[in-house]
């Protein structure tokens, strides 16, 4: 099978999954009609207004017709309006809010993934090569604590032990000293947001919405560094709690590959050890590791939701949190759908990269 045929086939296989997901989100978003209608009406809930909203949302139609209207709205970007909770401007289109919230979440998730790759992959290789030695045992303990620690608690510990008022010595207050917040962007752990650009007053626009890219776009290096430092702590929190899956799986599949005949052959014909490890073993072991990537992304994004709330990062996780507290159902369903699409697309990308690296999977 050619690579592009494989990619097309893989994308076609996603269609049933996406349909299934939309059925689930449709069911959830129509399971509690009172909450849905209240979200549109706010405090004034006269029967006449309820009837208007019901007609507008096609709630008087049969279920299958409602589902098709739901699908139509989903794919045309008509995702409804924010409910009048205390935290949002009521009536903002959900899609506009999504465009504002999506880049920060992706920024955090990508940085966390990068940290996992930088930290988790070498640790996995080391602990397989030095099996049962100190590195392996230390990695094992770190991975064990990493999977066992509550994400929000780790975030809080980082903030209170390395933060401005820490009980630890002065040198360990990595997150700024005194009362000065560590960045221009937000005050950690509170709901105070200090946007790096105040678009309304200064007239500046955020071309991409990604903090790190926008700061470089305007050539503000100090703001870029401050933003990177700000983003580093939540990303580290997420990475520490999700790297274990990759590391442990890579270790066991490396050990399995190291027992294969072709590795013994390579060694016996005098191939240097680092060459054996990096060319023969690691490439084959990485293939098996891609099978746990789906679970990894689910863990990572669940971690991102909680971490954004703890660190006050203005992404989709924080949006979901505020919506959950305020009972804003439209936002909850929108974030659920977006998070699912992120995972599905991430899995697709991993599969395509894997099939590019290892042509054998295309033969199935």
């Amino acid at each position: 099978m050619k690579l592009y045929v494989y990619i097309i086939r893989r994308i076609l296989l996603l269609i049933p999954v996406i349909i299934g997901v939309t059925v689930l989100t449709f069911f959830l978003s129509h399971a509690n009609l009172t909450l849905l209608i209240d979200g549109y009406l706010g405090r004034i809930r006269t029967p006449a207004h309820i009837a208007i909203v019901k007609a507008e949302l096609h709630l008087n139609m049969p279920v299958y017709a409602q589902y098709f209207y739901y699908l139509g709205n989903l794919f045309t970007g008509n995702w409804g309006y924010l409910a009048p909770t205390e935290l949002f401007d009521a009536g903002t289109p959900v899609f506009v809010e999504f465009e504002r919230r999506f880049p920060p979440t992706m920024e955090l998730a990508l940085l966390a993934t990068a940290l996992v790759l930088v930290m988790g992959l070498p640790l996995g290789v080391f602990s397989a090569v030095k099996k049962d030695r100190l590195t392996d045992q230390a990695t094992r303990v770190l991975a064990m604590v990493g999977v066992s620690i509550p994400v929000f608690w780790l975030g809080i510990l980082i903030l209170i032990y390395f933060g401005p008022n820490s009980v630890l010595p002065f040198q360990l207050r990595l997150l700024g000293s005194g009362q000065i917040p560590p960045s221009y962007y937000y005050v950690p752990g509170t709901s105070i947001l200090e946007p790096w650009v105040n678009t309304k007053v200064s007239g500046l626009t955020q071309p991409t919405g990604f903090l790190l890219i926008d700061t470089l776009y305007y050539g503000d290096v100090s703001a870029f560094l401050a933003g990177l430092y700000t983003l580093f702590w939540p990303a580290l929190t997420v990475a520490l709690t999700s790297f274990a899956l990759v590391t442990r799986f890579l270790r066991s599949s490396m050990l399995e590959v190291m027992g294969q005949d072709y590795v013994r052959t390579a060694r016996s014909k005098g191939v240097p050890e680092h060459f054996v490890i990096h060319k023969h073993v690691r490439r084959n072991a990485l293939g098996a590791t891609t099978t746990v990537m789906g679970l990894f992304f689910a863990t990572l994004l669940s971690g991102v939701v909680v971490t954004e709330t703890v660190f006050g990062w203005p992404g989709m996780g924080r949006w979901l949190f505020s919506a959950a507290i305020g009972g804003d159902m439209v936002s909850i369903m929108a974030t659920t759908f977006i998070f699912t699409i992120i995972i599905v697309v991430a899995n697709l990308i991993v599969d395509i990269i894997y099939s590019f690296l290892d042509p054998r999977v295309r033969l199935e």
């Binding site: 049933p16 999954v17 959830l28 064990m144 929000f152 032990y161 752990g189 789906g294 669940s302 699912t340």
Partner: protein
């Protein structure tokens, strides 16, 4: 006649018991796994007897307004002889809360994991043994559920269907069954091809009897391992849900995540609780110790039940 049946039953039971004793012997050879088992048993005992010994309302942390005549409502007291874990904001006794929380956390997690494992085992054996269209549909369903981040789906369920104990258990069980379905299906697919299954089918045993008597008992160990590993994940998810404020039974529910959220909420943000470090550190440690022990237990079980490692 009856005697021979009894003796054959006794023989089977004795064989099972011997095999269990052997497994347990191998398990206790690993000190770390034994420590894990001990800590988990300790937590379960606390969950059962803790609220009984402490008394009071098991759904609410005890509040202490005055201590030695001093009003301690908004000044958390550090850990001392009187308050082993200190008190948190509004005078809630942390020791009381942490002990009562064990029942809620362990209970909900047990309900979720066991029902998830049961549903997963049934659907997985259908998918593996019958295969065909039904099996394909079940496996595509697991694909769908596995591609939604579990925390997000749990939040959606709880907010939309109502925040109570039943909905939380049902929502988390809905999230947790696909893993078991996949494991059981894989096991069934490999066990199905073995000679004794073939022999039982040839001898005329029905599908249900074959599955119940031969296939499930011989593919059950990976489920045990997964249950002990998942138990910790469910507890982490419950704690995260409570921390985010989508728990049940009210604002002051004694639950480890809720106690942490209570401290940061009432204290006025995370930087504000820095001086009162015990209010967030101690409930979190309770979660960490239990989940680490569960993972050690699961690792130990996996090492014991994997014959390749036993040799």
């Amino acid at each position: 006649m009856t005697q021979s049946v009894e003796s054959s039953l006794g023989r089977i039971l004795r064989a099972r018991f011997d095999s269990f004793k052997k497994t347990f012997y191998f398990f206790t050879r690993s000190p770390i796994a034994t420590i894990g088992l001990g800590v988990v048993i300790f937590y379960i005992l606390v969950a059962i007897f803790g609220p009984v010994v402490l008394g009071g309302n098991p759904w609410k942390t005890t509040q202490i307004l005055q201590f030695h005549g001093v009003y301690i409502y908004n000044v958390p007291q550090p850990p001392s002889i009187y308050f082993p874990f200190g008190t948190t904001f509004e005078g809630y006794n942390l020791f009381n809360g942490v002990v009562k929380a064990a029942r809620i956390d362990v209970g909900v997690a047990a309900a979720v994991v066991l029902s998830g494992a049961l549903i997963g085992t049934i659907l997985g054996s259908i998918a593996g043994y019958k295969g065909g269209v039904v099996g394909e549909v079940i496996m595509r369903l697991t694909d769908i559920f596995l591609s939604i981040p579990f925390l997000v789906l749990a939040i959606a369920f709880l907010v939309i269907l109502g925040r109570n104990l039943t909905i939380m258990v049902v929502a988390l069980a809905i999230i947790w069954w696909p893993t078991y379905t996949r494991i059981v299906r894989g096991q069934v697919l490999s066990v199905r091809e073995l000679k004794y299954v073939e022999a039982s089918v040839a001898a005329g045993s029905s599908s249900i009897r074959t599955v119940m008597k031969h296939i499930i008992p011989n593919s059950i160990y990976p489920i045990f391992v997964q249950v002990s590993l998942d138990f910790g994940n469910v507890i982490l998810t419950i704690a995260a849900l409570f921390y985010l404020g989508v728990g049940f039974a009210g604002y002051y529910t004694p639950e480890w995540g809720n106690l942490i959220g209570l401290a940061t909420d009432l204290g006025g943000g995370i930087p504000a609780v820095t001086q009162y470090w015990w209010t967030v550190t101690i409930p979190g440690l309770a979660i960490l110790i239990l989940v680490v022990s569960l993972n050690l237990l699961g690792d130990g079980l996996r090492d014991v039940t994997d014959p390749r490692l036993r040799r």
